[in-house]
Amino acid sequence: MEQVHLNIDGKDILTTSDRTILEAARENGIRIPSLCNEQRMEPYGACRICLVEVEGARGLLPACYTTVTDGMVVHTATEELIRIRRTILELILSDHPKDCMTCESTGSCELQDLAYEYGVKDARFRGEEHHYEVLADNPLIERDYDKCILCGRCIRICREVQGVGVYDFVNRGFDSVPGIPYDKPMMESPCEFCGQCVSTCPTGAITSIPSKGKGRSWQVEKVRTTCAYCGCGCQLDLHVREGEIVEVSSPLMVGPGQGNLCVKGRYGYSFVQHEDRLTTPLVRKGGDLVPAAWEEALGMVANHIREAMDDEGPDSVAFLSSARCTNEENYLLMKLARAVVGTNNVDHCARL
């Protein structure tokens, strides 16, 4: 990887040859708008919002797709570029519902933000609009393709990141739309309901059903935590509104998950505030499970282990560890078994 000097909008920038113009600009505080690009997947170059002018190049180039070269001089906001961005936004809006009042994504919609930024109020180019049926054929993911801008992010994240490939485009040209083979319901597709498509959709075309109507982005407080389902340690943002978790997302490019979640991390949050959830250890007393303090419960376990060791030797005890624990926690349990108790009877639930 080589060092590259380039100039973007008059600013001299030093970066590396693996960077795209878009990445180099963003890393240096220059914002180039984009719609089809997202860090978690390969560049696609379809929306044309991030077109920039590169001196000496034939035609305008997509900043998301073009890697930097030494001596490159880039202009990101010429009159022509702004005019083209406006036209593109107007064209998208000419086939897009104007129901932002009730749209689930208002406030977190990239199209809405750009229309606002570029002052696109009314479509000069009115014409035929698509009216698809809203697809809510499962308990988690709703698809409203009237709002789809065909950025391909759902298709690509499913294929490139999840390795599943539930969607692809069907039909051609103006009638192109993401679809599931043979228009089958999602439940009958290979979908794992990870909701990665929901997480990347820039508009309200793919949304989470459990979060519907429960809070706008500015009405929720985001509480960062670590997912408790496995040892990976994916970072979660719990969207909390008035004490209730209404949605879970993952911050992009943070932690081991880099913004990606599985079905458990994204949708398995109802237990947190469930009335059946245990909040203290339970100790069996006289046949009944009775709430106890941690000291009491752990002390009881330690005593039983010691008794067993004294009566029958260390190998009378076995330890079973959990995939919900981190590597470090599993290591400590192994240490407890081998070094403290003195047995090799230690195993892990993932082997069951």
């Binding site: 696609y44 170059g45 379809a46 929306c47 044309r48 077109l51 035609g59 305008l60 180039l61 997509p62 797709y65 073009t66 890697t67 022509e80 005019r83 083209i84 036209t87 593109i88 064209l91 998208i92 000419s94 086939d95 000069r124 180019f125 014409g127 035929e128 801008i149 065909l150 391909g152 692809d168 485009f169 039909n171 051609r172 040209g173 103006f174 009638d175 192109s176």
Partner: protein, 594 residues
């Protein structure tokens, strides 16, 4: 060519001939010849270029004199054979005579310079022996046994040939990029995804001289270092695919394809990939995606296929016509090829003449001819004595040029300067009965339909442009529509991902530039002066010409025409649906549209 002491009959048996009825003529000829009455034998060839006179038979007598007859039918076969047997020439049917170059349509060929089409119509495309008898595969043998890849690239560079698929990129330079690209496995692709309406040169070459393309590919593969090649040909070209299959099989038998070809240690093979007919798959990155089994959608360039192409490997893609010229260039030298043409456009270009031109067919002319020479001297001008109005150059990606630009040279840069493009070489001629707004609408409807849907400007922009044009044609255009078209056209051209969107507005831009008055007539005066757009015309019967035969009233599907027998008839404009059936039916030409 020797006929072995007999009369040799060669039937034009390309798709154009077959569509015109050549199969029935072939059956009739075979039946007659089977009687043994005639000292003659039958062979087939691809398109001879005279598509406007198909079915065609070329008769060569034992002395080598040839007469090409056109407009044949099974009924005419026995008369033809009698004439052949009697050494007689049927003047009325003559398309061309070797002993009288001025006879028939002789000047159609006389004004051409055939390099790519050198064998088309002259040899049996299903016979490798016939191709070899014309010196075929000598260029490939020379290239592989006595030239280095660099020498080959230099030679092709010297010829000045530019990509004939439309973009006009210098072929030698392109080969150089692929040669220099790092990678052990490289690929060569022949782009035979000819898709422009009105362009059929690639099909004709594949049907008429498939070995020329294969030989060009052998040379190109060796030059860039590719051992595996693909021909991406649309499945709608079944005859081309069949003849390619036959040719490739023959090459394997002769040791021209496979391992250690031409006795060297060079391996080279060709696979055919059938396309499903998407226009966008002619775009090289979409074509690559299609070969890889993906949805045919383009991706931005760079990276260019020369560095990251098929399966991510360095790939060189050339068009059929380009590859067919390569053996000639290697055999005759790049300098000789470069001696033909203009400063920056060398060699020859094949054009498909179509539309209202008198001789619709296949013509190869030197670069530097004027459009007038191509359309009038070769093409014979406009049909039925009507007036020339425009020529659509380069298909739906090209532009529409008016009579005032007829002296434009056939030269990449000169044509681009007009707003049209050389493109693949389609030339659709329009006369005074063509509405230019409707023509632009037609071409845009094609590109809009063929848009892959990936990028916004092409997917939605061409749709909106088409809606505006449809509105104008239906008399509902507003003055602001012209400005909207200008804005959309400019931003679609500048903003689209690939050349499909990047060129789709050209027919609209050029007609707006050269025929703006017709747009204004449609919008402001609600008139279609060419009498084409149904919403803007009314049909009238000229009373002084109408004989009252009633033919118009009989054919009218909505009973809009009435009148007494033998008295002038009249059309009720409110009922009339402007289908113009009456206009074509009237024996007196008493009906007109305005």
């Amino acid at each position: 060519m020797s006929t072995g002491g007999k009369n040799k009959l060669v039937l034009g048996y390309g798709t154009c001939g077959i569509a015109a009825g050549a199969t029935a003529v072939k059956d009739a000829l075979e039946n007659e010849l089977a009687t043994g009455k005639y000292d003659a034998y039958l062979d087939i060839a691809g398109c001879m270029g005279f598509c406007f006179r198909e079915p065609i038979v070329e008769v060569t007598d034992p002395d080598g004199r040839s007469v090409i007859y056109g407009d044949l039918s099974p009924k005419r076969v026995s008369r033809l054979l009698e004439a052949v047997a009697g050494g007689e020439v049927i003047e009325d049917w003559v398309v061309r005579r070797s002993d009288e170059p001025g006879a028939g349509e002789g000047d159609f060929l006389a004004n051409q310079h055939r390099i790519v089409l050198r064998n088309c119509g002259n040899i049996n495309p299903e016979s490798i022996e016939e191709y070899i008898s014309t010196g075929g595969y000598e260029a490939a043998r020379k290239a592989l046994t006595s030239m280095t890849p660099e020498e080959l690239i230099d030679e092709v560079g010297k010829s000045g040939i530019r990509g004939r698929g439309g973009a006009g990129f210098p072929t030698g330079t392109k080969w150089g990029f692929a040669r220099k690209a790092k990678g052990e496995q490289k690929y060569l692709v022949c782009n035979a995804d000819e898709g422009d309406p009105g362009a059929f040169m690639d099909r004709s070459v594949l049907e008429g001289d498939p070995h020329a393309v294969i030989e060009g590919m052998i040379v190109a593969g060796y030059a860039i270092g590719a051992t595996q090649a693909y021909i991406y040909c649309r499945a709608e070209y079944p005859l081309a695919l069949k003849r390619l299959d036959i040719a490739i099989a023959a090459c394997h038998e002769w040791g021209y394809l496979g391992q250690g070809i031409f006795g060297t240690d060079w391996d080279f093979d060709i696979k055919i990939k059938k396309g499903a007919g998407a226009f966008v798959c002619g775009e090289e990155t979409a074509l690559i995606a299609s070969i890889e089994g993906k949805r045919g959608m383009p991706r931005p360039r760079p990276p260019f296929p020369a560095n990251e192409g098929l399966w991510g490997k360095p790939t060189n893609i050339n068009n059929v016509e380009t590859l067919a010229a390569i053996p000639w260039i290697i055999a005759n030298g790049g300098d000789r090829y470069a001696s033909v043409g203009t400063e920056k456009s060398k060699g020859t270009k094949v054009f498909c003449l179509a539309g209202k031109v008198r001789r619709s067919g296949l013509a190869e002319v030197p670069m530097g001819y004027t459009l007038r020479q191509v359309i009038f001297d070769v093409g014979g001008g406009v049909r039925e004595g009507k007036e020339f109005k425009a020529v659509q150059m380069g298909g739906p990606s090209g532009g529409c040029l008016p009579a005032s630009l007829l002296d434009t040279l056939v030269d990449y840069d000169a044509i681009t300067a007009t707003g049209a493009i050389m493109g693949s070489g389609g030339m659709i001629v329009a006369d005074s009965s063509t509405c230019m707004v409707d023509l632009a609408r037609y071409f845009l409807s094609f590109t809009q339909e063929e848009s892959c849907g990936k990028c916004v400007p092409c997917r939605i922009g061409t749709k909106r442009m088409l809606e505006i044009l449809a509105r104008i044609c239906s008399g509902e255009g507003e003055p602001e529509d012209l400005e909207r078209l200008d804005i959309l056209a400019g931003d679609i051209k500048a903003g689209s991902l690939c050349a499909l969107g990047g060129t789709a507005p050209n027919p609209v831009l050029t007609t707006l530039k050269y025929f703006r008055n017709e747009y204004e007539d449609h919008i402001l005066r609600k008139k279609c002066t060419a009498g084409v757009c149904p919403a803007l015309i009314t049909l009238h019967i000229q009373e002084d010409i109408c004989t009252g035969c009633g033919a118009c009233a009989k054919i009218c599907p909505v009973e809009a025409i009435s009148g007494e027998k033998k008295e002038p008839h009249a059309i009720d404009a409110d009922t009339c649906i402007r289908c113009k059936l009456c206009l074509s039916r009237c024996p007196e030409e008493a009906i007109y549209a305005e």
